[in-house]
Symmetry: C2
Subunit: 347 residues, 2 copies
């Protein structure tokens, strides 16, 4: 019996899976901080969620409008990073933000549901405005980017959003917009989203001054060469008071141990190293040697896969074109649903 019409309809796995959305600003290649905090989670989510990854070139422009060509070049680099860490384009849709007009359309609608004062109160945006030294010259696009994120999330009807804890205000802003919109439409046209917090602590930059970020020059790229990795480990911040190997040393705030916690598969060994370091008698060079081994081991397969994929530019280009095409359908339909629910004239 081969007539599909006579078979009972069975929902596809996709239909019942929750939708997950994340992405990355297209301002630089991805690094170990992305890997520890988010990429590993996303690889796992492929088994349980209908996942979309957004290459956020429009959001990148909110603070990089002075160099749009850099943003343009980064798109394929990030696709390569995704594929290299194990994102499977048959199970995850990788798409380009600027090629999804529905995201801009929804942003424009949502901007009417949020006051300027509310945007100015957003703690993440406030901090980032300070960090970037924008002052009064903050671009309107930057102030509004939480609204654009709400559009990204809702355009896919995503309910699961893997984020760091510093991004929780963004989910809150998204859900405020969703509730306002649903109230206005008199129907639950969009679902609220939920943050999926990774268990991992945020990976510090190699200089120990804060989070890892390419623009601060304290990052290790996923594509880093063996030499670059070793060099970064040698330069890594430890305990400045730990001068001689025999002195007791601090483990908290010691970047080398943060990285061992994040990447060393042998937790017992790391616990032992910590004990010895605290008591005294263990030199920085020994723990750094261990970390170098661990990172070389972790990054080698990623770098090699990435290199193989990069050899054929049609690979990332094809993945991005296919994913963006799919995402255009999904997000276009949602934007249309929203316009219809609001009672706008459709053509």
């Amino acid at each position: 019996m081969t007539n599909a019409d006579s078979m009972p309809a069975i929902p596809t796995t996709d239909a019942v899976r929750p939708v997950a959305l994340t992405g990355d600003r297209a301002t630089g290649p991805l690094h170990l901080g992305h890997y520890a905090g988010s990429l590993r989670t996303r690889v796992a989510l492929q088994d349980t969620h209908r996942q979309y990854l957004l290459i956020a070139d429009m959001q990148a422009l909110t603070d990089t409008m002075h160099d749009p060509a850099k943003v343009g070049r980064m798109a394929d680099e990030i696709v390569l990073d995704y594929l290299a860490v194990g994102i499977d384009p048959d199970r995850t849709t990788i798409c380009l933000q600027s090629a999804l007009p529905a995201l801009a359309e929804l942003t424009m609608l949502y901007l009417n549901l949020v006051s300027v004062a509310r945007l100015e109160r957003n703690p993440t945006v406030k901090e980032e405005i300070g960090l970037r030294g924008f002052g009064r010259a903050v671009p309107a696009g930057f102030l509004c980017y939480p609204v654009s994120q709400a559009a990204d999330i809702t355009a896919f009807r995503a309910t699961a959003v893997p984020v760091g804890s510093d991004q929780l205000p963004m989910i809150e802003q998204t859900n405020e917009i969703v509730r306002s919109l649903n109230r206005l439409c008199g129907t639950a046209v969009l679902p609220e989203a939920r943050a999926v917090l990774s268990g991992a602590a945020r990976l510090p930059g190699i200089d120990g001054t804060g989070k890892m970020s390419k623009s601060r020059g304290n990052a290790i790229a996923l594509s880093a060469s063996p030499d670059a990795i070793s060099q970064a480990v040698r330069a890594m911040f430890t305990d400045p008071a730990h001068i001689r190997a025999e002195d007791p040393g601090r483990v908290d705030g010691n970047v080398v141990f943060s990285y061992l916690d994040a990447f060393d598969p042998d937790a017992d060994l790391v616990a032992d190293l910590k004990d010895r370091y605290r008591r005294g008698g263990l030199g920085d060079s020994t723990v750094k040697r261990r970390l170098d081994e661990v990172l070389q081991e972790a990054l080698r397969p990623i770098r090699e896969r990435r290199k193989a994929l990069a050899a054929d530019p049609a690979i990332p280009a094809g993945v991005l074109a296919r994913g963006t095409q799919d995402a255009r359908q999904v997000t276009g339909a949602v934007a249309r649903d929203v316009r219809r629910a609001l009672g706008l004239r459709l053509t």
Copy 2:
């Protein structure tokens, strides 16, 4: 000789005509104020320009988000108003803002070229925020609407924008954005726009308190019935000090004379009425009787054409669908040109 290939290429008239763009917020049916200040100009522009009229439902939402269904219903009403006053859909493209995603895309890009402080300095927006009593609760979409207007204008590569003098800051904001963008792209990807000021003075509302506006309840709709016109003329503000017909009266600030100036085809008669009114001996009822005749005469053909067109809802729907389809091509191509010129990744 009928082989077109052997004929010299002659540019079509459209190709050499400058592009004109205007439109109307879809918050209410059009009224005499629109007619005097703008619609008559647009009818004339059809002979000299490649003209687009935008039904600005997205912009309407920047201050009418509480009632989106009203905005939705207004689209076809405005199409009927356009057709009734003599806009010819074969010579003017009538299109719906919310159905042109390129406008939202360009807005999102341009928001990165304008600071929040710059938007807050816009004199027109400042005044309108005050008028609407938004205070601190001003929606982000409202603050940003000059950027959205810049997107509207540039998405059609419009160089001629018929506006009232109060809208000049909008053209200035548009051209600032155009210059920033062209500088960033290193090429003149977009042209600057020029305001086309109508010679007509702005038509006051019938109560003489300011401009005619449906929300202030001082408007005469283009579709007003004969009775509604007469009632509005009777209620019209004149000179409150002009009690008896024999008293001298003021013509300046006298709404009845403003309307006669705008609509009476017999300028000599109006000049004579003004003289007699100033000297004393001419009652309000006499000038109002003349204005009633003039307005009845001006609006009757508009109302009748409108009624005939409204009898078949497929007429405005078809005009809007066809125009929006055309505009989607034009604006989509411009948004793509801008993304390409910026060096963004295209898919």
